[in-house]
């Protein structure tokens, strides 16, 4: 229950950090430590070199520019939670963060750490899927952007090469007048969800659905965007029959199973939570339209 020995590095800049990553084998990057530290305590992870990014201040920022929200990888969940900018431009992130761990873990945990850990039902990973996130990755070889859809390559495995570092994330900001919802089912408050569903809905001047996005977590190794369901909602009335039909389709998506939760139960949750999320988002969209 103690970390195995490693050599500790605390670079002060991204260029120093990627230089360390390029020169050391079996190196791991330490962000907020809320996932990697338990893995090191259990010795699931035994890096020879630990590259601590907590002093790389250029990686912590929140910027709203041209309908995008740009967040540095080392921005703490706490700082996102208390950001007035995010409250104004992307309140859904706040709704999702309320389900992330606990006060003590959000105080240390970072956006980049959560995305690189890639727990299949992590709330921040779900948000990245819903908000079409682009991952900005750097190494000594240069920089590249990875769309979220290509970032998770397998269960808790990202497309990052061993010498690469996630530096920041760009989220597409939703149009102003839309409704949103984030719902999940977990065994206890603060646990990773079994299934989570987030959605954004916009209504046209006739009150019909003009835009619909849905992200479902917990069914696969990464959150998925059910494009067919999103498309089928367009032009529909935001009523119970529409949402019931959409939810029935969500239940048909194939789901993983593990020792605790069967795939049938995950599919059941996908139906219930999709319906609940759409109802909440529609109610919110109507408020926005009349407010």
């Amino acid at each position: 229950m103690k970390p195995a020995p490693f050599t500790y590095h605390d670079p002060r800049s991204v260029s120093d950090a990627v230089a360390l990553l390029a020169t050391h084998d079996n190196a791991r990057v330490l962000a907020g430590g809320q996932s990697l530290m338990p893995m090191m305590n259990f010795r699931y992870a035994m890096p020879d070199h630990l590259i601590d990014l907590n002093k790389v201040s250029e990686l912590a920022y929140i910027r709203v520019e041209n309908n995008t929200l740009n967040i540095g990888a080392m921005t703490r969940q706490r700082d996102i939670e208390f950001s007035a900018d995010i409250g104004q431009h992307c309140p859904l992130l706040h709704a999702a963060l309320a389900h992330v761990g606990h006060r003590q873990t959000r105080n240390r945990g970072t956006l980049g750490g959560s995305l690189c850990h890639q727990d299949p039902s992590a709330e921040m990973v779900n948000m990245a899927a819903l908000l079409d996130a682009t991952m900005h990755v750097v190494s000594q070889r240069g920089a590249r952007d990875i769309p979220l859809a290509d970032f998770a390559v397998a269960y808790m495995t990202t497309a990052l090469e061993p010498d690469e570092l996630l530096a920041g994330v760009t989220f597409a900001l939703p149009a102003k007048k839309h409704g949103h919802a984030f719902v999940e089912f977990a065994r206890r408050h603060g646990d990773f969800a079994i299934v989570a569903c987030s959605t954004m809905l916009a209504l046209d001047s006739h009150g019909n659905i003009s835009n619909a996005t849905i992200a479902l977590s917990g069914l696969s190794h990464a959150p998925l965007r059910p494009a067919a369901i999103e498309q089928a909602l367009l032009g529909q009335k935001p009523d119970a029959a529409t949402f019931k039909a959409a939810a029935a389709e969500a239940e048909k998506i194939s789901a993983i199973s593990d020792a605790y939760v069967s795939s049938a139960y995950r599919q059941h949750l996908a139906r219930v939570l999709t319906c609940r999320a759409l109802e909440q988002a529609a109610a919110h969209a109507k408020e926005m339209q009349h407010g």
Binding site: P38, R103, R108
Partner: protein, 161 residues
């Protein structure tokens, strides 16, 4: 060869300098190097909350931080609460409301609530329960702890205003 660093941290207002292995967790540094055994080690993977301390005034799991990360920072542990052998308002409220039985989770509960009541001086019960959601207690069923937090909040409002 063990990888070591010399760090200086201010723990409960007192400056400490020590040469430590870089793999030493903050909680083991507090307990084994500084002999501040008030902070308890429970699960060692960030679930139980028994090791909660304040780093720079903000709560953190001391089992999920390395001591080397606290170089130059201020750390407050449960030992900072009582002054001159007298329990502070929050600690007294725990005693008065049966907020502990075995006491193992208590240091973490107290430090979590120290931050929470500082930031939320007028909490309701639901807020207290959410604030405590990251601290496990296997004895009390939480009711006494929630009562203690609400009682302390009331008394702290009375004494500080």
């Amino acid at each position: 060869m063990a990888d070591t660093r010399t760090i200086s941290a201010i723990v409960n207002g007192k400056s400490h300098t020590a040469t430590i292995e870089t793999r030493l967790t903050l909680v083991d540094f507090l307990r084994h190097e500084l002999k501040l055994t008030g902070t308890h080690v429970g699960c060692e993977h960030g679930v139980c909350g028994a090791c909660t301390v304040l780093v720079g005034g903000i709560s953190a799991r001391a089992c999920l931080m390395l001591a080397v990360q606290c170089d130059g920072l201020e750390v407050a542990t449960v030992e900072s609460l009582a002054a001159d052998g007298k329990l502070n308002t929050l600690q007294q409220a725990f005693q008065d409301n049966h907020g502990l039985q075995c006491g193992f989770c208590t240091p973490g509960m107290l430090m979590t609530l120290t931050e929470f009541l500082r930031d939320h001086p007028e909490p309701n019960e639901a807020q207290v329960r959410e604030a405590l959601s990251g601290n496990l207690c296997r004895c009390t069923g939480y009711q006494g702890i929630v009562d203690a937090a609400l009682d302390a909040a009331k008394k702290m409002r009375g004494t500080t205003r």
